[in-house]
């Protein structure tokens, strides 16, 4: 089991979410974060006050995957989050010791599979087909 943490551009979130769902990764946690990477600073002007915005808004997505899904997950993020410009973000992969589903007490891989994963995945694939987007 691996914890995959990725930092992506907020404007790419819909594509990243769709790609993860298509790959069968349907259990994800989001947070809004700010950070500093290699991007240019942004300037704002209010009357005589000039502000340099050193931190950029990003979205952090965390998900725990069983081993067969790890590479698919990484590839899904890479294909959907990349714009080619500085500031596309990072993916971190870390080992995980234990996972327990609170509702049932199931552990590890059994706890990781969402019960509606197949349906969510199928809906995501269908939506991509209808919308014409890969």
């Amino acid at each position: 089991m691996k914890l995959i943490t990725t930092i992506v551009r907020p404007e790419r979130l819909p594509e990243v979410k769709a790609a993860l769902f298509r790959a069968g990764i349907t259990g994800i946690t989001l947070s809004r974060v700010s950070g500093h990477g290699g991007e240019h600073e942004r300037f704002e002007q209010y009357r005589g006050t000039a502000l340099v915005m050193e931190f950029h808004e990003k979205v952090k997505i965390e998900m725990v995957c069983s081993e067969p899904f790890v590479e698919a997950c990484v590839q899904a993020i890479l294909s959907s989050a990349r714009t080619g410009e500085v500031g596309d973000g990072k993916i971190f992969v870390q080992p995980i010791e234990r996972v327990i589903r609170i509702r049932t007490g199931e552990a590890d891989n059994a706890a990781l599979t969402a019960i509606n994963a197949d349906q969510v995945q199928r809906a995501a694939i269908n939506a991509a087909g209808i919308g014409g987007a890969a």
């Binding site: 907020p10 809004r32 002007q45 009357r47 005589g48 000039a50 809906a123 269908n126 939506a127």
Partner: protein, 446 residues
């Protein structure tokens, strides 16, 4: 009987309408200032304007109108009109030959309300509310009311010298602007000033407020004709022209300096144009009002850039926007005024009367000295009695919580309020032709 016969229903309707328009300006000012501060001080900043509607509304009816306009000497009115005693519904030839004197009292009252509220922009985010309210009442009584008597009251010394101030360039804007400068200096800078980035928390509110100010200003300036006549139309045209010219000028200066036109700049620019034309509105040609708008914006814009680099925390630049644009307008009135537009007015420099510029300068200097020293004295009094400056914990918590015990944005994450969220909202657009729902009902647990 002759007085009653002279009452004009058209004039009365316009002045009553204008009074309501000027009242709306104070609410507009609350939005304008409220949007420019940080979220933890939004309510306190707005209340600094709104509370004036209450306390000055009462003060004016009780003694303010009497000090400013009742028959008296050249410095002060008498108390003959205390509580609007002897202020009837018939016209009074001195002030209003065609409208009820009570209409004049209400119209002028709205000016008395907004003027001290203008000062609040300089001292936002750091003044105790109780101290502010006491300051408001004392300033209105000891500074505004006498000043209004000097310039507009029967027998006022500046009126007798022929100073031209159509709708309040000296009485309203210079007095408020100078008092703002003194108050900002007296209270000292906010503890975060020039240490932490401070930016407007809601620019749409700023634009709403500026729009209401522009709308209400037609009552302020065109209403100052005190009649529904050609002079009111002239003041209306000049008011709109100067505001528009100042907005364009400000946007151009923004563009030249930073490469972008800002919304806060557009809002500020139009207000500055309105300030600059206020003393001149009924005395100059529309072409002159164009120049007054442009010059007023230029002066104010430059002053704001300089002020921002100093330690003087005139937080919302009241001195630059009202004091300096008001001074520019008052002096330019002495340049551009012409009796061709208003026979009851005067001729300025360009109409061959350079002396008018001297009279205008005298009015400006007298206002600066009186308002500046008076404000200093009042603030000192407030400081030693009930306290003027909020302490550090109060300032850190924000004045909304520390002074009013409430929050502008209770329970909301300001990030999502400000609209920066959106993509994290979690909702999706559901296409009506989707083959199956995006999220199918969960099957029963296995």
């Amino acid at each position: 009987m002759t007085q009653a016969a002279a009452l004009s229903s058209g004039d009365t309707a316009w002045v009553l309408t204008s009074s309501a328009l000027v009242l709306l300006m104070t609410v507009g000012l609350a939005f304008f200032y409220g949007g420019l501060v940080r979220p933890k001080n939004a309510l306190n900043t707005m209340m600094m304007s709104v509370v004036a509607l209450g306390v000055i509304g009462v003060q004016w009816m009780l003694i303010g109108y009497s000090i400013a306009f009742a028959p008296g000497n050249s410095w002060l009115g008498s108390l003959a009109w205390f509580g609007l005693n002897n202020v009837g519904v018939d016209p009074n030839p001195t002030y209003s030959a065609t409208i009820p004197l009570q209409a004049h009292a209400m119209f002028q009252g709205m000016f008395a309300i907004i003027t001290p509220a203008l000062i609040s922009g300089a001292i936002v985010e750091r003044m105790r509310f109780r101290g502010y309210v006491v300051f408001l009442v004392l300033w209105a009584t000891l500074i505004y009311d006498p000043l209004a008597h000097w310039v507009w009251g029967s027998g006022g010394w500046l009126l007798k010298r022929g100073a031209l101030d159509f709708a309040g360039g000296t009485v309203v804007h210079i007095s408020a602007g100078v008092s703002a400068l003194v108050a900002a200096w007296f209270l000292g800078p906010r503890k975060d000033y020039r240490r932490v980035p401070i930016a407007p928390h809601n620019v749409p509110l700023v634009l709403l407020g500026a729009g209401l100010l522009w709308f209400g200003w037609f009552g302020f300036n065109a209403g100052s004709a005190l009649a529904a006549n050609g002079l009111a139309a002239l003041a209306f045209v000049n008011t709109n022209t100067a505001a528009a010219a100042a907005l364009v000028t400000w946007a151009g200066l923004d563009l030249a300096r930073t490469g972008k036109v800002t919304a806060v700049g557009a809002a500020t620019g139009l207000v500055v144009g309105l300030v600059a034309i206020t003393p001149a509105a009924g005395y100059v040609t529309p072409m002159s009002s164009l120049f007054i708008g442009i010059l007023g914006a230029g002066v104010s814009y430059t002053a704001i850039q300089i002020r921002s680099r100093t330690k003087l925390d005139d937080a919302l630049d009241v001195f630059s926007c009202h004091g300096l644009a008001g001074t520019a307008g008052a002096l330019l009135t002495g340049v551009f005024a012409t009796k061709l537009m208003n026979p009851a007015g005067g001729d300025g420099l360009l109409a061959g009367n350079p002396g008018q510029l001297g009279v205008q300068l005298l009015a400006v200097l007298a206002t600066v000295a009186f308002a500046g020293l008076g404000t200093l004295g009042i603030l000192k009094l407030v400081e030693v009695t009930i306290g003027a400056r909020a302490n550090v914990p109060e300032e850190s918590a924000g004045l909304d919580l520390s002074q009013h015990g409430e929050e502008a944005y209770f329970g909301s994450d300001l990030g999502s309020f400000a609209g920066t969220g959106g993509s994290l909202g979690g909702s999706v657009v559901v296409q009506s032709f989707a083959a199956e729902p995006a999220v199918a009902p969960a099957p029963s647990p296995v």
